[in-house]
Symmetry: C2
């Protein structure tokens, strides 16, 4: 078993479970011989989906789980009471060391709570952030934190900067990633109390490449690789991507449908447009890792289809092979010296 990276997949989580989850898992093992997936869920349903595909049986295992955690359930209560849910079972596989990583399209709240309570934090990590990759004009950036901890303290943000740097360098291959803190102006004296307190700490942090403040307008431009902010602000940034993007694309489509002339034009530009806009799609990068836990926990969109599940599983291979958690541990401990 040592030859595989073992990934626990919550087979019943998300809007399209189990169909797209199982499909994505099969696509992942068919693309990489390095990975084994453990799909948790109701065996009948999972097996009847699996029966549709051809794949190496050694790389897929079904782990029975009788319950399902609903998107709307209060997370703490769900984790506590639904011990036999696909989500909790999958997290327990990581806790037990059977799996290196966890992927779920299910409840964000339950994943965040369960990640901390079941998988547990790396020693020294104060708060584990949720850190999605967001598209930029010429690539992507890591938005950290984006929903795990509201009302964060400066020391948390410094750890986010360190963990984010490790991720961008080791998983995404960005050399000496540029770290910036989200602010309402470029000058050091600008900002709210949290940013003003955090700024000098980041500036004096020797093991990251801190480039100062970043205004929200410059994030999509790609002016930094690790975007540090507290979770409330991070959530607003992520959702403005979706909101502004969605409305603008709708306006572009409406514009193209206003006259016969523009309709003909639309037919001609469509394929090229689809291609460039795909590069700016929030969902292309697979799931958001929750960093600083003893195993890798990845949350993908509730609406994930197989391609996103597959990408999330494959992302776990690099994460594990690159020994990210060991690197995070070293970087966080360095701070304490």
């Amino acid at each position: 078993m040592a030859e595989f990276v073992n990934v626990a997949v919550d087979g019943m989580g998300g809007d399209n479970a189990p169909l797209e989850i199982v499909k994505g898992a099969v696509e992942a093992v068919n693309e990489s011989s390095h990975v084994k997936v453990f799909i948790t869920g109701q065996p009948d349903q999972i097996n009847s989906e699996l029966a549709k595909y051809t794949y190496n049986k050694e790389q897929v295992e079904v782990v029975p789980a009788s319950e399902v955690i609903d998107m709307a359930e209060p997370p703490v209560m769900a984790i506590r009471t639904k011990k036999d849910s696909s989500l909790v079972k999958a997290l327990n596989l990581v806790k037990a060391g059977t799996c290196d990583a966890y992927v779920s399209a299910g409840s964000t709240g339950a994943t965040l709570v369960g990640g901390q309570v079941i998988v547990g934090r790396i020693k020294g990590v104060e708060r584990p952030p949720l850190a999605p990759l967001i598209p930029t004009a010429d690539g992507c950036a890591l938005l950290i934190d984006c929903g795990a901890n509201v009302d964060a303290r400066p020391s948390h943000l410094v750890q986010f900067a360190k963990m984010g740097s490790v991720y961008m360098e080791s998983v995404m291959g960005v050399k000496s990633p540029r770290v910036a803190i989200v602010n309402i102006g470029a000058e050091e004296e600008k900002g709210n109390a949290l940013v003003k307190e955090t700024f000098p700490l980041l500036k004096n942090c020797p093991d990251i490449h801190f480039i100062g403040s970043i205004e929200a307008r410059d994030i999509p431009e790609g002016k930094a690789d690790v975007i540090v902010c507290e979770a409330f602000v991070g959530n607003v940034i992520l959702k403005m991507y979706e909101g502004v993007g969605g409305v603008l694309i709708k306006k572009v489509k409406e514009g193209m449908m206003t006259s016969l002339r523009s309709k003909i034009g639309a037919l001609l530009v469509k394929p090229a447009l689809k291609q460039t806009l795909k590069a700016f799609d929030l969902e292309q990068y697979g799931g958001a890792p929750m960093l600083g836990l003893k195993g890798l926990v990845v949350k993908t969109h509730g609406s994930s289809r197989s391609v996103e599940i597959k990408n999330s599983i494959l992302q776990c291979i690099t994460f594990t092979e690159q020994n990210i958690n060991q690197k995070i541990k070293e970087k966080i401990t360095m701070e304490e010296n």
Copy 2:
């Protein structure tokens, strides 16, 4: 003079001063016989610009000011030391009662500080917010606060909700405007400490139409008319509009230029596209009013051209004729009973 709405215009503020400022002022008086503009600045420069146009001389007055406040100057110091600047002179015209309103494309910081220090707050208003109109899928919404006060308290946010409601109802003609607070989820128990404390206050506020939380993704969709948030978050929202919008439009253009086929298509869709995208342009609405001051203070983009200056000046007519400040005073005082 009583027949005019009198507007003080900072003739030297902004990237395109005095050329576009003077042009916009002339366009405003040529469009409305109800307004008189007082342009502050270096008389030679202002007069030589004015000489280019035809307009009713009774509606334009040049008020000499020898200094200019630079965009990068620390605001408090600039207001204190540059008494003869075009910005301070224009604010003083409002303070003295000569003018009803002020419009500037100059330093945001100096306008915010000067608005409070020179024009002064309406009695009972704790913090005057900066409140730009932002485009939505089917119209616009008021984003309040967007840069005037970081680290706001719940009572401030409640006042923002009230002032914003008055503005949307009386200036924009939205009946019983829907007020929402920016949050990271739709449920009442979600949010950071500030939002959790503010939510019940808004819910129990009898004279606004509070509809609950709004996630950032739903703002561009137009799901509320008055978007309440503290300034740091408001600034991030406003700048994400610019950032995501800018990069997406660039991607659309790039996509259209990738092949001969798409280039021909682009020629055909261009006019229609331009039309629909214009409706989603942040700059179409003229300036952002700073609410809760004894006179109206309007800040327009630093890059404003004449059309924005004109719209900002014309917006002052409705504001003054609708007696917004009296309405704000009544609504704020009601809270104290």
